[in-house]
Symmetry: C2
Subunit: 469 residues, 2 copies
């Protein structure tokens, strides 16, 4: 066995252990009774600690140092990614890793109760602890990697980034008739559309949870959503969004399963895959014309073609990020980007977050959240220790627009296919140009390979202009 092969075996073992944690994470969000929360936090901490122990074993560092560059590009990149992952992990003491996993789980548990009650005070001490521990980790990582603490976090979610921005406009319209839209009918339609988009339910599940997400593993995808009987759009678009994530995971290169180079290219690329399905394909003229009769069949004939289009392309300043339209979404992200940087640097105390949130929201969107439930308590991210992630959403939206423009050039029949509800040409193109590359290329290199240029925000602006102006 070569040094490379030994390192590979160790990383495969770590990846398999992390799969176990991914399934437990889904379980905690989707089905676990409340009584299980404390023990689950301990379980996640032990798995994180063991994963960290495996990756920091001195023998692995020796093997990574001794490994000769393999003779094909995939394996060369895999070695680079293993080395980077090992350096990041080895920089952090195990106690800190376990303490962070425990603090994240504890804070998330408190948040699940605090959010509906809009009770920021309840979550404030736990969230302070999350930021304290994250600040420690980010400081150590930044020093090790020669970048700012915040960039060290962002780089952990997405490799190969360059800074990027986005702006916003507005364009209101009429809405759907009031519901109720029964949850069972919503779920049936969600399943039908996900399957039509290419999701293979022999290797996937759809369940309910308070905060929608796509979890699990490439051969066992776990999508969750929530059903609002007053408005089916959130669940429908949410499931199609998660389906974009799921298709990416299902199409990563199987030959490199559980290897660093066989993972996705990072979370900004991941968000581009959910958004290209949800925003670019599903909200296209063709697809919505195909979707309207299905919606009428599911919920009654008064849900017209025009009403559906208006609802799904309605632009309005609202409080909740996950329900925001494409135009106002970047402002939601910008606010969080500023606040998490300030809290990480220590310039903003966690206890002062509610006020800073409301002020910032008023400044960016012109409205003030009436309570913390619709303000700083709405997202799971910070409460689960996910800090430095929000830029991925805006980068993903810009990348999605750029990829869609390239796909339209490459596939003249693309919009005609969308008009038949057929996503397979698009998904085929994405598989070829994004999914099958795994983590071989960083963010900008992947975009350049697929579209001929690094990230260019002009495509997103052109998309917004064409659709909304």
């Amino acid at each position: 066995m070569t040094a490379y092969d030994r390192a590979l075996a160790k990383f495969t073992r770590i990846a398999t252990l992390n799969e176990a944690a991914a399934i437990l994470g889904w379980d905690g969000a989707a089905v676990m009774p409340d009584g299980g929360a404390a023990a689950r936090g301990e379980q996640m901490a032990v798995l994180a600690g063991l994963s960290h122990e495996l990756i920091t074993e001195p023998a692995l560092a020796d093997d990574l140092a001794a490994a000769e560059a393999p003779n094909d590009e995939w394996r060369q990149v895999n070695l680079t990614l293993m080395r980077e992952a090992q350096i990041r992990a080895a920089a952090l003491p195990r106690d800190l890793v376990e303490a962070a996993a425990r603090a994240n789980a504890a804070c998330e548990t408190i948040w699940r109760r605090a959010r509906p009650e809009s009770d920021f005070a309840a979550v404030c001490p736990a969230l302070t602890e999350v930021f304290n521990l994250t600040r420690q980790s980010a400081g150590i990582l930044g020093e090790k990697l020669g970048c700012s603490p915040y960039d060290a976090l962002v780089g952990g979610w997405q490799r190969g980034l360059a800074a990027a921005e986005a702006r916003q406009r507005q364009n209101p319209g009429p809405l759907l008739p009031p519901g109720p839209y029964p949850a069972a009918a919503q779920e049936k339609l969600c399943r039908q559309l996900a399957e039509a988009a290419g999701l293979d339910f022999r290797a996937a599940r759809l369940d309910k949870s308070a905060h929608p997400f796509c979890g699990g593993t490439p051969t066992d995808i776990r999508i969750t959503t929530r059903y609002d009987e007053d408005d089916f759009a959130a669940a429908l678009m949410g499931v199609l969004h998660e389906t974009g994530h799921a298709l990416y995971e299902q199409n990563t290169p199987k030959e490199f399963a559980r290897q660093k180079v066989g993972e996705s290219a990072g979370m900004a690329v991941h968000e581009s895959q959910s958004l290209i399905v949800e925003m670019q394909a599903v909200r296209s003229d063709g697809y919505l014309s195909w979707l309207a009769p299905l919606v009428s069949e599911a919920f009654g004939p008064n849900v017209s073609d025009g009403a559906l289009k208006s609802r799904l392309r309605y632009v309005e300043r609202t409080f909740i990020r996950v329900e925001a339209d494409e135009m106002t979404y970047p402002a939601h992200v910008l606010l969080r980007f500023r606040l998490e940087q300030a809290m990480l640097a220590g310039d903003l105390k966690v206890a002062d977050l509610p006020g800073a949130w409301n002020e910032g929201f008023e400044a960016l969107l012109g409205i003030t959240p009436p309570d913390d439930r619709r303000g700083c308590l709405q997202d799971i991210h910070w409460h689960d220790g996910i800090i430095g992630y929000f830029p991925s959403y805006t980068l993903g939206a810009m990348a999605a627009a750029q990829l869609m423009a390239a796909a339209r050039l490459a596939l003249p029949g693309l919009d005609e296919a969308l008009g038949r509800g057929d996503l397979s040409p698009l998904v085929g193109w994405l598989t070829e140009n994004v999914h099958r590359h795994g983590a071989r290329l960083g963010f900008n290199d992947l975009l350049a390979q697929a579209t001929g240029e690094a990230l260019n925000p002009a495509h997103f602006e052109a998309h917004l202009a064409a659709r909304y102006l």
Copy 2:
């Protein structure tokens, strides 16, 4: 930190890791899509390998050797149990432990498809591998512990055993009217009865699976069942059976959570707790009279008090163990006990199992299974690597009768309470005399402490005679 404390911290970590595996086991049986099976097998193998690695670390053996006997009995027994567990684990090479976990998961996956199709040939190679690996482990363990390989397996499921036996009789009666009994109504009643028996659903779930079981962890119990719309009895009694297991887990001593001495006293004691609820309490005259109107309410008035009693105490020679009555059940166990010993010793080839099963079944019960689905493919146990477990059922049935006799003496109002559907006096007595002792006492010592004598099969015979003769 003393050597004892260091060993304790290590065992707590192992127990937490094993909790993660328990939740993944439930997931695989209850909700996982088929596509996830192969990856799940790997995940279980990695968790088993890591657990084995932790328990076989030389430093742990040193600490266990150096630890001084603590000054209270619980901690003394805990030290003994940690040493026993370490000796058993250290006897086995990690490769064998991981290979067994992988083989068990692979065989179980094949079995899930082979059973409904009654296709023994499909599962035969995988099952042969399971027995081969178990034979290796049992041989090593038997040598280390100075007992037969089979006894080494049995001792892994239940400490402090002495041999015991049981016999059977028969007593037919009228049956319930034909269904359908809607699954939703069955589930509702199952939940109601489990809750009335004392199960706390804030720390437990009830779901469906092909093979009913009670999994999860003490603060996150996962009961599963299956619903037959032609006959509600199997689901109802199954859930109450699993509720007995769940109450035991929920009432083990919290002070010793994740410590060896805080676990249950073993699987024969565990089966006594499920059977004392299902067979002794729920099938008592008083409880059935209370249950009958609830059943009528759930399924319609033609399910009379008399019909319910007849159904739940009907004695008949049938093919399926989990549906067998108290009288014929021991014969089902005896057959498996003989066959697994023969396969483990190598006297019976796995390929010859179907013939040997049918011959043995005819000899013991006078009927021959029409296919392997109702023969050697019916149980998950062997296909999941659970070998040497079956005696626990008969030992548990005998212990349940003995405990019930002692509880009746101690609690004069016991049957009156059962007539109000009130299990709390019984569960309180069991908590005091069984549950709260954790693993402090072995099988016979626990029985002696609770009932004044070691296992005495006369109580089970007296119970059968009183109910059926």
